[in-house]
Assembly symmetry: C2
Homo-oligomer: 514 residues x 2
């Protein structure tokens, strides 16, 4: 049957996608009315004619017309069909087609917005794992089959209500298991109701900042330090002071020199990020003194503490703090995998209901099934087994790095201090120029290194420079290969005028017994 002539060009109205047809037709007609392609007073085709022209059922077109009638965009004249309304609802503007940049509102002009421009989130680069990617544990060793099997089991056995909105403090069973783990692994005595499940350490830091800082309060952290923490503190702090380090970590005198408005100190005492320095007991106690005297808080980020190579881990500051002014942040990212987004915040039990409420306001809670599977993983012993395996692998990869380095790079005058713990080594360098030169040369050779300025933000002017080298991401052969490539790439740099000779730092933990 010959398609009836239509009073307007119906091309472009045809519906190619299988979506809800009436709604799509409505959207397209509405757009034409609003942007003027169907001017006021235009007579619309009969529903039968349009249906035939577009290959739709008449019912679909009828529904579409009814909708547009309801919306006031078309009008009916008795016995005379439908017309585009003479007077449209005021100020209806066509925005169906995106991309009218000239009329689009400018972005918000808030301080948060401006501050965010300065923050570049770290992320795992695309492509396979490479040396010396930092922030990455041995992901090649994650027991995916075990995890997957536990997931399948959890789904088979789930009750529908377990898919609903959960406890913002976290799955109770998981909180208890993690509290047990902290007790035995870190000597941190906390109960399940002193532990909040968070979306990684990042959220724990953001939560603490939002909960503890009043308008006008300032925060402090190490310089160089973990930039993602700076960004989180900046959400709530008027100012984030960057406090310089010495061989034992953050310098208490420099901290004390900050005014009384400084109420929150973010710290990585086990294994300073990025330099790797471990803060000794006396220094930790000095900082607890500071917190008590100033009625301030300490946020202790114990990332990576499960990996230690020399000496035993020091007690967390949170376990030394009788005044409970130290909140403890932990993460499963370096034990399991960063993409899981699970961590925890330990705080006094009396605070937990309010912290849980804050979590609920930000994003409710962590995914329920992931928490279930992790709880099963821990309960059935896989977690401790995996932890041991990860420690062994980290140990092996660290040794490989140090041996290969001693062989290929130390002769060039570049000595790498052996890290006491964690998953990265830190190569101190004399200045930013050297840092940039070596980083560029490494990148050109296909080796990932983390320049301190990028990884740790601006240090204090006396802070020097360096490169962060993650050693856990790839197995030993790739480590050796990467060291060889670095040696090739850096040979020219070291042959030049760069003062590359550095003495390895003496570990504070190896004082000989007299």
């Amino acid at each position: 049957m010959r398609a009836p002539a239509l009073p307007f060009d119906a091309s472009g109205l045809a519906l190619e996608d299988p979506g809800p047809r009436a709604a799509t037709l409505v959207a397209r007609l509405r757009l034409r009315v609003l942007d003027g392609r169907l001017p006021a007073g235009t007579r619309l085709p009969t529903t039968r004619a349009l249906a035939q022209a577009l290959g739709l059922s008449r019912n679909t077109v009828v529904r579409a017309y009814e909708q547009l009638l309801d919306e006031g965009l078309i009008a009916s004249r008795v016995g005379d069909g439908s017309y585009v309304a003479a007077r449209l609802p005021s100020t209806a503007e066509p925005a169906g087609a995106r991309g009218a940049p000239a009329s689009a509102a400018p972005p918000p002009d808030t301080q948060v917005w401006r501050q965010l421009q300065a923050f570049t989130p770290g992320r795992t680069p695309d492509g396979p794992q490479r040396a010396f990617r930092w922030g990455s544990p041995a992901l090649d060793l994650f027991p995916a089959e075990v995890w997957s099997r536990l997931q399948a089991r959890a789904w088979r056995r789930h009750e529908p209500q377990s898919l609903g909105y959960g406890d913002p403090a976290g799955l109770p069973r998981l909180r208890a298991l993690l509290a047990d783990y902290l007790r035995s692994a870190r000597g941190l005595h906390c109960s399940a109701d002193e532990l909040l499940i968070t979306a990684g350490a990042q959220q724990a830091i953001a939560l603490a900042a939002l909960a503890l800082l009043r308008p006008g309060d300032e925060a402090a952290m190490e310089a160089p330090g973990y930039r993602a923490a700076t960004a989180a503190l900046t959400l709530a702090a008027t100012r984030v002071h960057r406090v310089p380090l010495d061989a034992q970590g953050l310098r208490p005198a420099a901290l004390a020199a900050l005014g009384p408005r400084c109420r929150l100190l973010y710290l990585t005492p086990s294994h300073q990020f990025p330099t790797g320095v471990s803060m000794p007991l006396q220094r930790r106690l000095d900082l607890l003194d500071w917190a008590r005297a100033r009625q301030a808080w300490i946020l202790e980020d114990d990332y990576d503490s499960e990996y230690r190579y020399t000496g035993l881990p020091l007690a967390p500051m949170a376990s030394l703090d009788a005044q409970r002014r130290t909140l403890y942040v932990g993460s499963l990212s370096k034990l399991l995998f960063p993409g899981l987004r699970l961590g925890y915040l330990v705080a006094p039990a009396a605070w937990m209901p309010t912290l849980a409420r804050l979590r609920a306001v930000l994003d409710r809670h962590s995914a329920c099934m992931d928490q279930q599977v992790l709880a099963d993983f821990i309960e059935q012993g896989h977690f401790l087994r995996h932890l041991r395996r990860m420690r062994r692998a980290a140990n092996e990869r660290r040794s490989t790095l140090l041996e290969a380095w001693a062989q290929d790079l130390t002769p060039l005058g570049l000595a790498l201090p052996p890290p006491d713990g964690g998953l990265h080594a830190f190569l101190p360098l004399p200045d930013a120029r050297t840092e940039r030169a070596l980083a560029d040369a490494a990148a050109a050779a296909g080796v990932e290194v983390g320049p301190m300025r990028q990884v740790g933000g601006q240090p204090d002017p006396l802070g020097g420079a360096g490169l962060v080298l993650g050693f856990a991401a790839v197995p030993p052969p790739q480590i050796r290969d990467a060291v060889r490539r670095l040696a090739q790439a850096w040979r020219p740099c070291c042959a030049a005028d760069l003062p590359c000779v550095l003495r390895p730092a003496r570990s504070a933990w190896r004082r000989a017994e007299n």
Copy 2:
């Protein structure tokens, strides 16, 4: 061999758990030194003696003593063994045993802390799904086998690097699929790079508030309204105005009466929460006018919009807004399951890098494997199939509720307005007293209902009262049974002096064509 006599009581030092022995021994000895049970000058047993007494290897005890020596808690006298140090590091306090409430620091005294006391997060009650639980889709129909199979497949095929830190804006493939879905299902034309994956609608609201509001800015939302949104806006707004409704939703005149500091309006125009009113086109355009005139923003929460029973869904405000002052919030909680914690925020592409940074600061990104599985679920057609199944089930459950209600409760004078969309019905009641009486009677009869004051916060003084009844959580037989129980429980209330007769609201979408 007879255990050698020790100079102190070694009971309680024995290590029963299989944890790291040296570390545990260190922790226990440290505690005793710090809390005075091992006073300064006490001579410690030889490493051999203690090892024998505790059944440990001598090496373990040697390591423990070395650690305590490093920490300055014990000292060595040449040829005379080890002693508890005469002068301990200052201010070391025993905090290993938790629960010294008297000395614990008081909770923070911040405005955020105080405001959080007023917020009770909603959560799915423990125990099986029951009528008329609100906020819950038909969880019994979730295709767990399909989801689980896709998860297993994703794990089998995963590359290690996919477990690392991901894109804070979300998995690119998922963003593209959701953008496609919004285009065809909601007529909202947005590209993948205008869509940010969030941890549910809750995080989208929190993100928008934190990004858009400057210190001193105020926000506005409907009253009654979604309380979790109030809490999120309160994170960043000096004040959150509650604006009264009429039969078409939020009243523009009341909004206009707010001062110029009001910069962000949170809205549920498709299906007002909790009353269910759908905002007609003219009212939507009026609010867009307000936003333009005030240089303010609108945050459109389109929860539940996929479920409609009468008429076609109206175009989202975001698609009518040429000025791009409307941000669009969506959630998968009611389509898939709330425990998944996935939603999205649509905003101009130019803003996306900064919004993604803000996400990264708050919690980095959503779990990588969950995003992968969801992308597969959508790509392979399961999502649309599930959507259709959920719509059919919601339709059936709604019809069951309305029929059972007409049979058992309308005769009591309690008429339930049929909801045009969404997963709950709203029973308007004359006053708070009636609301409380009926809610209590329902609870006593084992039926879950949502009192408006609990669910929607304080309405304006003229706002009336009511009960929210979710109808999607359970299959038809349980719905009929719950209605019978309500009829029994409420019969006494309605026989008394409560004015229970209410006329059903006329749906604006059913005006007859002339």
